[in-house]
Chain length 352, copies 2
DNA sequence: TTGAAAGCGTTACCAA
DNA sequence: TTGGTAACGCTTTCAA
């Protein structure tokens, strides 16, 4: 580990002073090792199909020349890029970041790289990303949710590669869908609040545009009210972008419309924490005067005062499962159901 | 936007029923358009070097055949991948996620894709990532900080591509370094706390392993004490990973060692927010009994009660500037200084 | 276990 | 403005 040292101050001028350069090819390695190029290729791809002695000579030649393989050539010839494309709404929400990291942690040791795109919650942007990324000939594609433009679906269908939709379970996957049911989770939380005796429950949800997660959560909330015979009123719902700032603002809106609310279900912990902080600022007792429930179980939620009742989504497990499934598919190994529900957990804490 | 529809239930079986498939090449497009392949290539790369009529015919052929270019072939031939590698410690910290998104927002419209890796704050892992990614022949590489293994530096030097180190300014960049001085910022915050009259200032910092940002912050804190003639004592420092949970724990440790502390400077808002929440839980008045300052200006910091005094780092500007600089370099346009300091802002709020 | 030749789909080079 | 030919560096195919 060094932070300084004898580095060249003019990187552009780094010629082959040490006899190595970046245009070393497999052929050069083969020549130095005294073998054919194909043997070098085999030594790199399937080390066990080459004698230990040959492998040693090749390894030495690689080290001596500073050889770096050129994956573009391999991809062209083999039609295998070892690239997996993953598209998420945003990377700023650590929910998705953690899922991506979990996927990457499985894929990288297997030699696959994740090419990540973010849509800003726009299906049109997703389509543009898919179109652009397909030119890289990815071996597989992972999308968030099941709401896509028809052309996105068509492009992926024609690409004939594994496609995994994630996070939110829907009825008719393009190929495979892995995640949990936002509807079920939201319904469970609504039932819980009702069971706890809250009479006037407000809902702060995300924007619905191109977002089946937020749509399912809102639908689950309404279903919960209905099955309990509670009248639903559009005034009970406020929608806001997933930011801490909007949680507080949204609570203000909601309380203006529902001054008698005794509980708030926020469809994301980012919003719910914003709500809690706003309550703190306004001196609203939680859960005494107003109960607060969230969704996601973010890192901060358990540290709040009071700690937040929320839905835990297995976000690392989703990433891991998707990556493993993808690797199995690409290796031709048998895979299971096309719809994989990894479930959720209702975490009961003090806030509701 | 559709969430369902007439999708095939057996994607593996999608043959060329509609006459289009994914093995359409530029040659097929050329044939249908009645031109040479090179003209198709030109129409795609430099639309202005082709007559409008030719371009129209080619566009029609592309649409009719559902042609998707193969970038692997182009990369092989031209040695231009239009891939930029970016390596960060973690994507879970939204600080880095926002910088990555800002970079991506500039690079994508220019036809470049970001290949992202995360090191988990390990220089050895960074080296492994760089070695693996270089096989994709990226057009440029972006690293976080200036602490790298010698082999990482050597690999990048040999690759002869633009390398931009980011976030933390250091004296001797591999090539170009863009960010701010964590040392200066930390020193400024320490001076601020001293000026505000706090006598016994504790410090909660990140782990130092392979992390020049945390090291500079700690050094800045010590320098601030020293220049004010305050005695430094190792007991004043607690180090913890950047997680909400550790902020609270670390505060406990610190107060055991320094029961008379009247201020805490946490080297990350994640820790500082954890500290604030812990104070809330323990009934410690902020800033009356204990002042709290942070670093990063995370989204939640301004919403806390009291709102958090912190250092604002221009994280989106860093990403944008890096991307623009990278594009300029790759286009052969002149670029400025090798060290670009985008500065910071001390945000004075109520917590300290 | 090893190798020779062919070819992947694109773009550089040179010519018309 | 357009095109023919060659070449990028690897892996597949077939053969020894």
């Amino acid at each position: 580990m060094t932070s300084a040292g004898s580095r060249s101050r003019t990187p552009q001028a780094n010629a082959d002073a040490d006899g190595t350069n970046s245009s070393v090819t497999m052929r050069d390695v083969a020549r130095l090792a005294g073998v054919g190029t194909i043997t070098v290729s085999r030594a790199l791809q399937h080390p066990d199909r080459v004698t230990a002695e040959t492998r040693r000579k090749i390894d030495e030649a690689i080290a001596a020349l500073g050889y770096v393989p050129n994956l573009a050539a391999g991809t062209l010839r083999s039609s295998k890029s070892r690239i997996i494309v993953a598209i998420v709404p945003t990377m700023s929400n650590s929910i998705f970041a953690e899922t991506l990291q979990a996927m990457s942690d499985v894929l990288r040791p297997a030699g696959f790289h994740l090419l990540i795109g973010h849509t800003g919650y726009s299906a049109a942007e997703e389509e543009a990303l898919v179109a652009a990324f397909l030119a890289r000939r990815p071996d597989g594609v992972i999308l968030t949710g099941y709401t896509h433009t028809p052309r996105t679906v068509e492009l992926l269908r024609r690409a004939r590669i594994p496609v995994i939709e994630m996070w939110n379970i829907g009825p008719d996957p393009i190929d495979t869908i892995i995640g949990m049911s936002s509807y079920d989770a939201s319904l469970a939380m609504t039932r819980y609040l009702i069971r706890k005796g809250y009479r006037r429950i407000g809902y702060i949800g995300g924007l619905l545009q191109d977002n089946d997660r937020t749509a399912q959560r809102e639908a689950g909330f309404r279903a919960g009210l209905e099955e309990a015979g509670r009248p639903f009123d559009p005034l009970m719902i406020v929608r806001a972008p997933f930011e801490f700032e909007s949680g507080g603002t949204a609570l203000g809106d909601l309380l203006n419309r529902m001054p008698d609310a005794d509980a708030v279900f926020a469809a994301s912990d980012i919003l719910a924490v914003g709500v809690l902080l706003e309550c703190l600022g306004r001196g609203i007792a939680v859960p005494g005067r107003l109960a607060v429930a969230g969704f996601d179980d973010a890192g901060i939620s358990s540290r709040m005062t009071p700690p937040l009742t929320t839905i835990r989504v297995p976000r690392r497990a989703i990433g891991r499962t998707i990556a493993e499934r993808m690797l199995a598919r690409l290796a031709g190994r048998p895979t299971g159901e096309r719809i994989v529900d990894l479930g959720f957990e209702l975490i009961e804490r003090a806030s509701a």
